[in-house]
């Protein structure tokens, strides 16, 4: 596989990751969100593997497998169980309506391209063109956390942000050191458990998973 081909494939995967990020923004159904998230993880995992192959960095294979295991299988499974246990059937509530969110998202993508332009010029890596996508994914994840009300969708937004960061690390520097990645993976796993507990807590306290109810916790003047 030639380097150009690998770069091409990587770009396609980057595009797909961006697409799933937008998908997460517009998806109204909770299961749909979960599937999209799993897909994003899959694309990320493949992309990491390819980058590892092209650059000859062996530890990226481990990262790739880790991503596949965690973000495609374990985390969606945990969230799936949570959704079943909590009987969330409702469609996803949004704060801002979806077309507006889309427009903001597009603006963010353009912004990230603008932002990374000088870095892309300087970089010599195969993956340099995907850095903008990675940054955009981070921002879209944050945007998703802002515009959604349900706690589960916020967690998915958070995890997608993490995907973006991971992608940025691979595309900017061929990945972080393995120790760091292992640490991050562990963090994510533990975060998922903590979130699970947190969900149950806010549901028992407020009878809903709507994070807006937490405004009640604020001290009244």
């Amino acid at each position: 596989m030639s380097i150009t081909l690998a770069a091409q494939i990587n770009s396609i995967l980057a595009a797909l990751i961006l697409l799933t990020a937008f998908g997460l923004l517009v998806q109204r159904r909770i299961y749909g969100l979960l599937h999209l998230f799993a897909w994003q993880g899959l694309f990320l995992s493949i992309s990491t593997g390819i980058v590892g192959y092209v650059a000859g960095v062996n530890h990226l294979y481990i990262s790739s497998v880790l991503t596949l295991g965690l973000k495609v299988i374990v985390l969606p499974y945990i969230l799936h169980i949570l959704i079943i246990r909590m009987q969330i059937r409702k469609e996803v509530d949004t704060v801002v309506n979806i077309p507006t969110t889309m427009l903001i998202g597009i603006a963010l993508v353009i912004f990230s391209y603008h932002l990374t332009a000088p870095i892309i010029e300087l970089s010599t890596l195969v993956t340099k063109s995907t850095l903008a996508v990675a940054l955009a994914t981070v921002m879209l994840g944050l945007l998703m956390m802002i515009t959604r009300r349900n706690a589960v969708t916020q967690i998915i937004g958070f995890l997608s942000m993490e995907n973006g960061l991971f992608f940025a690390a691979t595309s900017a520097t061929y990945g972080m050191p393995l120790v760091v990645e292992l640490g991050v993976a562990l963090d994510i796993l533990i975060a998922a458990f903590i979130f699970g507990i947190f969900f149950f807590q806010i549901r028992t306290t407020f009878d809903s998973l709507d994070v807006n109810s937490m405004a009640k916790l604020k001290e009244e003047e």
């Binding site: 704060v95 912004f111 932002l115 000088p118 921002m139 944050l142 945007l143 956390m145 802002i146 515009t147 009300r149 916020q154 994070v211 807006n212 937490m214 405004a215 009640k216 916790l217 604020k218 003047e221």
Partner: protein
């Protein structure tokens, strides 16, 4: 091995002993009585050791330092015992020893009301903190010990935390202490940074600072920050507001320590930073210290005169005495700058002597006030009176404290104030016109403060102990006052009625003896303190002071002034003896009879001279300094204005400083907090948007 015992080792061991007392206290939680006896005995022992170490260290002019690898890696703690720290070790250790003995009795009064475990623990931590502040030889360990001291004293002030005033006072104290600590931190930051030229962290030791030369501007900034930081802790006007709030509400043994010695650690800080670390490089530094000292001395005693809460009065009087100490130190700075080492040594020693004296007599007075509070459960003087019959020991010891603080011979207060006066009077004409104006004015103001302070303590002693019980209840507790129900430990019935137990008495007796000894042996004390002035200003005054032997104290020149305390003591004793003989040799000389009431039949105890009436003339003269609300209202039950049934008199004297400086700041910070509080919506999305916008803006502008 005896030969291995050094002053430093003794001091260090005393700190370890204090830490041991804390651990023991934690284990004895269930046995409160045993806890009090064991912990305070250990504390007393360790304080005694520390003061021995100090006396020994100063006397030998001894310096020893060590490094303990604790705290942050690569920044070990440095400890050092030199004459200056040795002297303050004596100040802290000696009074803490007396107060610990006193506490053996005093703290037992809390048994049955509340657990004293945390009082004991924080008390030990508090003393540990003070010892460590004095022994620290680098900025890091100094600040850590400083905070240890501040935090533990906060919990001590909070001890009776169910009352709103206690919580409020403790909070105010903590705020002022921290503002001061920030200033000190910044000052050390400047010094440490300049020492290494803002490279690396090696400049944090005091040794490095001592050797460095500082540019004038930075040195001034560091000095001013340090002075104001320490002034906040010392209670110099206008930073004194926490003092009259915190001292009355703390348990009395704690207020004795806070007022007696904690304020002195701030004096230590000022002396250490200005003389030792920075070095005096401007004459007006001394002028600033002198001016603040004068303001504190005069206003402090005037405020003290207006109080009718005994402990509040003592707190304001501490402000005055801190002022007197600062006057000595300020003069020393001025004389050091103008290269008059002998005068500098005289005024510095006067200031430091007063530091030691104030620790002794203010500790004694607070212990006395504590004994009164313990026995009567009453803080207002207007509700006391005639206690000399019920508590003869306390009254006599309190009187010793009053005489000392009023600067009357033969007690110690006289010596140090007299030395301060000598420093004023002996000062030659200086090149600076402002100082030539300031120094005579300062002498006059000091004289005013001394006189007012005597008036103040005549009032304090007279209203509390003399006359008759003037409370609303007809007789003092524990006879028929509802306040007395619930039992007082250590209060014995019968003759002498309310007298406190022997532990408390011994604590006070030792402090009173210290006042007397420091008063009648000033020449020896000054000889002992010479190592200090030699270390700091490079000259000593023993040669002149002791020129005529131990009997006569002659600072600088004997033809100008000299004082012999032992002779004064002998004369005083002779006069007292003569008076006693004249009055008591004949049986008929003294006889008691009912009070003649000028034919007005219903004379009650409420009609006595009170604290408010005593301070009335001074309130009239200096009224503009206070915000006074006074109203007299007559009650006419019959409706006829010619026959009022009774008069009601309300008097409220407040400190103007609160309204002038503190209220605007407090209001502004609450206003800003309200506005900032609007940012806090309690909604996750809003918080996310804040960080999102921050990220975008940062990326946009800093890329």
């Amino acid at each position: 091995m005896i030969s291995d015992i050094t002053p430093f080792g003794t001091a260090f061991f005393s700190i370890i002993l204090l830490l041991a007392a804390i651990v023991i206290a934690a284990f004895l939680n269930k046995y409160q009585k045993l806890l009090i006896s064991v912990s305070f005995s250990i504390t007393a022992l360790s304080c005694l050791m520390a003061s021995i170490a100090g006396i020994w260290g100063v006397g030998a002019g001894y310096v020893e330092s060590t490094t303990i690898s604790m705290g942050i890696p690569d920044l070990p703690f440095h400890l050092r015992l030199d004459p200056l720290s040795g002297f303050f070790l004596v100040v802290v250790g000696l009074l803490s020893f007396f107060v610990s003995v006193y506490s053996l009795g005093y703290v037992k009064g809390f048994i049955g009301h509340r657990s004293v475990t945390h009082l004991v623990i924080f008390y030990c931590l508090f003393i540990t903190g003070m010892f460590l502040v004095i022994l620290s030889d680098d900025a890091l360990s100094f600040l850590i010990s400083w905070e240890l001291m501040a935090a533990s004293s906060y919990f001590l002030v909070m001890f009776e935390d169910e009352r709103v005033e206690n919580r409020r006072a403790a909070f105010l104290y903590l705020v002022v202490a921290h503002v001061g600590a920030i200033a000190i931190l910044l000052s050390f930051g400047i010094l440490a940074g300049l020492t290494t030229g803002f490279k690396g962290f090696d400049g944090y030791t005091f040794d490095a600072m001592r050797q460095a030369e500082f540019p004038a501007g930075w040195a001034t900034a560091a000095f001013l920050l340090a002075f104001f930081g320490f002034a906040a802790k010392a209670g110099v006007i206008p930073f004194h507001v926490w003092l009259p709030e915190a001292h009355p509400v703390a348990p009395s043994n704690v207020s004795a320590l806070m007022s007696g010695v904690m304020l002195k650690t701030a004096i230590y800080g000022i002396v250490r930073v200005s003389f030792d670390l920075i070095g005096i490089s401007n004459w007006w530094w001394g002028a600033i210290v002198l001016i603040f000292g004068l303001i504190s001395a005069v206003l402090g005693v005037l405020y003290a005169l207006m109080q009718h809460d005994l402990k509040r009065l003592l707190a304001y009087s501490s402000v005055e005495n801190i002022g007197i100490i600062l006057i000595g130190i300020g003069l020393a700075m001025i004389f050091t700058y103008f290269e008059m080492p002998q005068l500098a040594a005289l005024s510095l020693l006067a200031g430091l002597y007063h530091t030691l004296n104030h620790a002794m007599f203010k500790g004694l007075l607070f212990m006395g006030a504590g004994a009164v509070l313990y026995a009567t459960k009453e803080r207002s003087m207007e509700e006391m009176g005639g206690l000399i019959h019920k508590m003869p020991w306390t009254a006599a010891l309190f009187l010793v404290g009053c005489i000392s603080i009023s600067a009357l011979p033969p007690f110690n207060g006289f010596v140090s104030e007299w030395l301060t006066f000598q420093a004023f009077l002996l000062s030659p004409s200086l090149q600076t016109p402002l100082l030539n104006l300031l120094i005579p004015l300062g002498a006059a103001l000091l004289a005013l403060a001394a006189a007012l302070s005597a008036a103040c303590f005549v009032m304090a002693f007279g209203v509390t102990f003399l006359g008759r019980w003037r409370g609303h209840h007809n007789s003092p507790p524990p006879f028929d006052s509802p306040l007395s129900k619930g039992g007082y430990r250590g209060v014995k019935g019968g003759n002498g009625g309310l007298e406190v137990d022997w532990y408390m008495r011994i604590g006070m007796i030792m402090a009173a003896l210290a006042c007397l000894i420091l008063g009648i042996l000033p020449t020896m004390t000054i000889g002992w303190m010479d190592a200090l002035s030699e270390q700091l200003v490079g000259d000593k005054i023993t040669i002149t002071a002791g020129e005529f032997g131990w009997l006569w104290l002659t600072p600088i020149a004997h033809e100008r002034a000299s004082y012999s305390a032992p002779i004064v003591l002998i004369v005083v004793l002779a006069v007292v003896l003569l008076a006693y003989i004249l009055l008591h040799i004949r049986k008929a000389a003294v006889h008691r009879a009912p009070l003649w009431d000028c034919g007005f039949e219903k004379v009650t105890n409420r009609m006595q001279y009170s604290a408010a009436s005593f301070s009335m003339p001074i309130r009239r003269i200096f009224g503009f300094l206070f915000s006074i609300r006074e109203d007299v209202r007559a009650v006419y039950p019959t409706g006829n204005p010619l026959f009022p049934k009774r008069l009601r008199y309300h008097l409220k004297v407040r400190d103007r400083f609160w309204g002038l400086f503190y209220k605007p700041v407090a209001d502004a910070s609450i206003w800003i907090s309200r506005k900032v509080g609007k940012l806090q919506q309690g909604r996750i999305q809003m918080y996310l948007i804040y960080s999102f916008i921050t990220i975008i803006v940062l990326l946009l502008f800093l890329r």
